[in-house]
């Protein structure tokens, strides 16, 4: 384990977080929130920079890092970034309990959008901005950002990037990691700006447009209104947000392919078609199911469409209170939480690609039982997926289920009903946001005990970083002195 390299990389990353902190700092000036509010950010920046200076003081003797160090760097960075990112909430007194502040920040960075705030609108604008901004940073990844802006001389940055970018297979767009990271962030920024612009010309206030765009881009779900998107009560806003939620749930490599005019390859993507089909089918099914309770099919389709895109992209914006919907609809929504968005997008969940592979390998087993000795390769987009990847996906799913089971048991000490407990875990590990019953779209997570909040924060991090980095960080064998 190259401790010095880990420490200095994490240190650099904290410096970047301090840089991010300048934005709410200026915003607090812009909205004239007073010297007390601005000085909070200044103080936090000083703390973060001090931590960064200490960590980067360990100059690495050599820059050799491997997959193991990559995982540790990513996991450690996320925990530290969330800890320091929680400071503005805590120090300003907006969230007096530090566990709550940590939960809120983890929920922000992991683009979950689960909140413990009961009155969101009472927060100062600069804090609301920081809260939504964490979604935007966390969406594409803090470390990918560092890779994009810092010149990288060493060649092993892919180990870090692979650990942070979601999906079973991480493809590079270009031969250089830095260039790949830059293109990803350029695309990300461009689409975010486009969304802000469209919302703004649709008569949404600028501050709201920006924060909504941040939340959509990261597929997070924090809103600056207590009633979430329902507060705008505008079909235009809902359609724009739905479209952009679908877009941000798509693998960014496909956008790049469009950019380099390889539309054919985009259309060939099996994952894309499955993703879009699931959205269409679930929307129709839920619309029919909720028809009796709302008056028109048009309204049913509007609610169903927005909720489905919001849930499958793991954003978690809310217009209708789907907690009151029939059980069938709730079951579909729970399934959508688990499936999640496409690999390589900013969304969470299992990822469509993994679900496709799980189904294919499941069907292969059935086929083998019927026709013993069958040899069948698993293909995705017409290319054979290698055996190792298929087996990794299978073990990933197993670990995922185990973590859900363990977390559910841990949260159950809090003695909420089963649906609330189970869906709270599901929504956190898949980075969605709202759950059902006690933690439904119209309520929040503040009722949980500190212990449950820590468990769910861990679930959010585990889900966002796709299990392995967090487990590797905390497994004793990666810190052993022995080989």
């Amino acid at each position: 384990m190259n401790y010095r390299m880990i420490s200095s990389t994490v240190g650099k990353l904290l410096m970047i977080e301090a840089l991010f902190m300048t934005l709410p700092f200026f915003i607090s000036f812009y909205y004239a929130e007073g010297i007390a509010s601005s000085s909070v950010y200044a103080m936090v920046m000083v703390i973060i920079i001090a931590a960064g200076v200490i960590l980067t003081a360990f100059k690495p003797r050599h820059k050799r890092i491997f997959a193991k160090e990559g995982f540790v760097i990513v996991a450690l960075s996320w925990i530290l970034v969330a800890l320091f990112g929680a400071l503005p909430f805590y120090i300003s007194g907006a969230i007096p309990n530090f566990t709550d502040a940590f939960f809120e920040t983890v929920s922000g960075f992991t683009t979950t959008g689960a909140s413990i705030l009961t009155d969101i609108e009472s927060l100062p604008k600069s804090l609301l901005f920081w809260r939504s901004f964490t979604h935007w940073i966390g969406g594409m990844g803090v470390i990918v950002f560092v890779l994009a802006i810092l010149p990288q001389k060493d060649t092993r940055s892919m180990h870090i990037m692979r650990a942070e970018v979601p999906g079973p297979i991480v493809g590079k767009l270009l031969s250089k990691t830095t260039a790949t990271a830059r293109i990803l962030y350029l695309l990300y920024t461009a689409i975010t700006l486009l969304e802000t612009f469209i919302l703004y010309i649709g008569k949404v206030p600028l501050f709201d447009s920006i924060t909504l765009a941040f939340s959509t881009a990261g597929t997070g779900g924090f809103s600056i209104k207590n009633a979430s998107v329902a507060a705008y009560d505008s079909l235009f806003v809902e359609i724009v947000l739905s479209l952009f939620m679908i877009l941000f749930g798509i693998n960014f490599n496909l956008f790049y392919l469009i950019l380099v005019r390889q539309i054919k390859r985009v259309l060939k993507s099996e994952e894309l078609w499955v993703y879009l089909s699931i959205i269409a089918a679930s929307t129709l099914a839920i619309a029919c199911n909720i028809m009796p309770s709302v008056k028109t099919f048009g309204l049913a389709l509007r609610h169903a469409g927005f909720t489905v895109t919001s849930i499958i992209s793991t954003t978690g914006f809310v217009t209708a209170d789907f907690n009151k919907w029939p059980t069938f609809s709730k079951c579909i929504l729970t399934a959508l939480m688990i499936v999640g968005a496409m690999a390589g997008s900013t969304g969470g969940g299992l990822k469509t690609a993994r679900v496709i592979m799980l189904f294919k390998s499941g069907f292969r087993e059935i086929r083998r039982a019927i026709h013993p000795g069958t040899v069948k390769c698993i293909k995705l987009d017409g290319a054979v997926v290698d055996k190792e990847t298929v087996s990794t996906v299978n073990s990933y799913f197993t670990l995922y289920m185990v973590i859900i089971a363990v977390s559910t048991i841990l949260v159950s000490f809090n003695n909420f009903d089963f649906t609330s407990t189970f869906t709270a875990v599901i929504t956190c590990i898949n980075n969605v946001g709202p759950a059902f019953d006690a933690f439904g779209p119209k309520s929040n997570f503040s009722a949980l005990s500190d212990f449950s909040k820590i468990v769910l924060s861990a679930d959010m991090l585990i889900g966002r970083l796709e299990i392995f980095p967090m487990i590797i960080l905390f497994s004793p064998s990666s810190w052993k002195k022995n080989i």
């Binding site: 491997f66 002195k481 022995n482 080989i483």
Partner: protein, 451 residues
């Protein structure tokens, strides 16, 4: 003695060279006519081309008048079968090389039920030697006599060693330890030192002492190293397998094997559940670092390619790993010494030494024959253990009155599990084990050491 060797591979040829040099009548059987022709031209032996398990071929080789039959062909089953044929033909001593790990647990069965005099597994023996060195890493090489009562350790003197510049007679007084330096290798020269010999830097010393004294001595001269813990083995072939198995059975080691071949890795992971098996190229620098080469106590290179073993273990040394071991098949140890290798092992030499030791022992009708034989420094020095029976002629004579051959040394006498470094007044008695170090005299009997 008449000795038939079936199969002239690496071990076979080493044996032919040694045994024909010791004036035995050697007949070699091999399927390869060209190989036979080359051997007959290079050594003073008789060659027969054919299948060693065939009765006809064995009769042609004169099996009915031979004393020893050594089967060293490629296949274990052929070796066992040809030994059985030879046994039926009336030969007394049969030696078979059996390498397959499947048979490694039934050596007793081969001996007792099938009547083979000796079964040797060169890879297993090499693994045992390596395991000894890993257990006692202060020495470059370790051998033991009299069931472990006395060790023979090989150490190298670095420039800063306090022994440099002191005469042998001063050692005992200076360090207050009971050890005996029985041979010294200086550059390519070997000599048996006297009390007034002065040690120099870069000398290689061969030291006999009980283990406890050896440890004390090494601590005093500052070369003692603790038992190794983290061991990386490059190449999961037979030697690697046996070594990892022995070490994991001993316990207390963390072992990692890096093996290129995936199918072999799967076999190893099944056979060695306590050992980490990594599928990768152990000569690749990145792989080595990823697998934590900096944390190692010992690096063991056992691939089939000598050059890879040499280069990767030198690389490991350069990273500061104190114990590196390389398996060598072909390259002469002279070359290796000149480039400063730490420890190296050759399974063919280990196997050949064991067979030669056995043949020396049966060459004598009496029991005061060679118990153990080690060849040191390319065979220039031999260390032999004799058991003293009533037939020993000089029982009770003080050593100062015995006339011993030049370049021969009575290193120590083991009496009732007590080790005596003999002085002039000591005597050799019946029931003792005596260790003799000699500069290539090829003694077969203790009586031969006296002029």
């Amino acid at each position: 003695m008449k000795i038939i060797i079936a199969g002239a591979g690496k071990v076979g040829e080493t044996l032919i060279e040694q045994l024909s040099g010791e004036n035995h009548n050697v007949v070699v059987i091999d399927k390869n006519a060209k190989l036979i022709e080359r051997l007959v031209n290079s050594y003073d032996i008789l060659g027969i081309c054919g299948n060693a398990a065939s009765y006809g071929v064995q009769m042609e080789a004169g099996v009915n008048s031979a004393d020893v039959f050594i089967a060293l062909t490629q296949t274990d089953e052929l070796n066992i079968l040809s030994c059985l044929v030879a046994k039926t033909a009336g030969i007394k001593h049969t030696i078979a090389r059996v390498r397959n790990p499947d048979y490694s647990k039934q050596f007793g069965f081969f001996k007792n039920e099938l009547g083979l005099s000796m079964t040797i597994n060169p890879e297993y023996s090499a693994a045992r030697e390596i395991a000894k060195v890993l257990h006692f890493p202060s020495a470059i090489n370790m051998e033991s006599f009299a069931k472990g009562a006395v060790d023979l350790a090989e150490i190298k003197l670095k420039h800063d060693n306090p022994l440099c510049g002191s005469a042998l007679s001063e050692i005992q007084r200076k360090f207050n330890v009971n050890v005996l330096v029985c041979a010294v290798q200086r550059n390519s020269d070997v000599f048996i030192p006297r009390g007034n010999s002065v040690l120099e830097a870069n000398d290689k010393l061969y030291i006999t002492a009980p283990r406890k004294e050896l440890v004390r001595f090494m601590k005093k001269i500052g070369i003692y190293r603790h038992k190794t813990k983290n061991i990386m083995i490059i190449g999961g072939g037979k030697v690697g397998y046996y070594l990892a198995k022995q070490l994991s059975e001993n316990g207390g080691y963390n072992i990692k094997i890096i093996e290129k071949d995936f199918a072999r890795c799967e076999f190893l992971s099944e056979a060695l559940p306590d050992v980490q098996i990594i599928n990768g190229d152990g000569t690749d620098r990145d792989t080595l670092f990823e697998q934590g080469i900096e944390k190692l106590d010992a690096f063991v290179a056992l691939t089939s390619i000598d050059e890879e073993n040499i280069i990767s273990s030198m690389y490991a040394s350069s990273l500061g790993i104190t114990k590196t071991v390389a398996k060598i098949n072909r390259v002469s140890s002279k070359v290796l010494q000149s480039i400063g290798m730490d420890s190296e092992f050759s399974s063919k030499l280990i196997a050949a030494d064991r067979i030669v030791g056995y043949i020396r022992a049966i060459g004598n009708s009496d029991e005061s024959s060679v118990q153990t034989l080690y060849k040191l420094v390319d065979g220039k020095i031999e260390a032999l253990e004799f058991f003293i029976t009533a037939e020993f002629e000089k029982t009770g004579t003080p050593i100062k009155d015995l006339k011993i051959h030049k370049d021969t040394l009575i290193a120590c006498i083991i009496r009732n599990a007590r080790v005596i470094f003999p002085r002039g007044d000591d005597t050799i008695q019946t029931g003792d084990s005596v260790i003799i170090v000699s500069k290539s005299k090829q003694f077969r009997n203790i009586n031969e050491i006296f002029r």
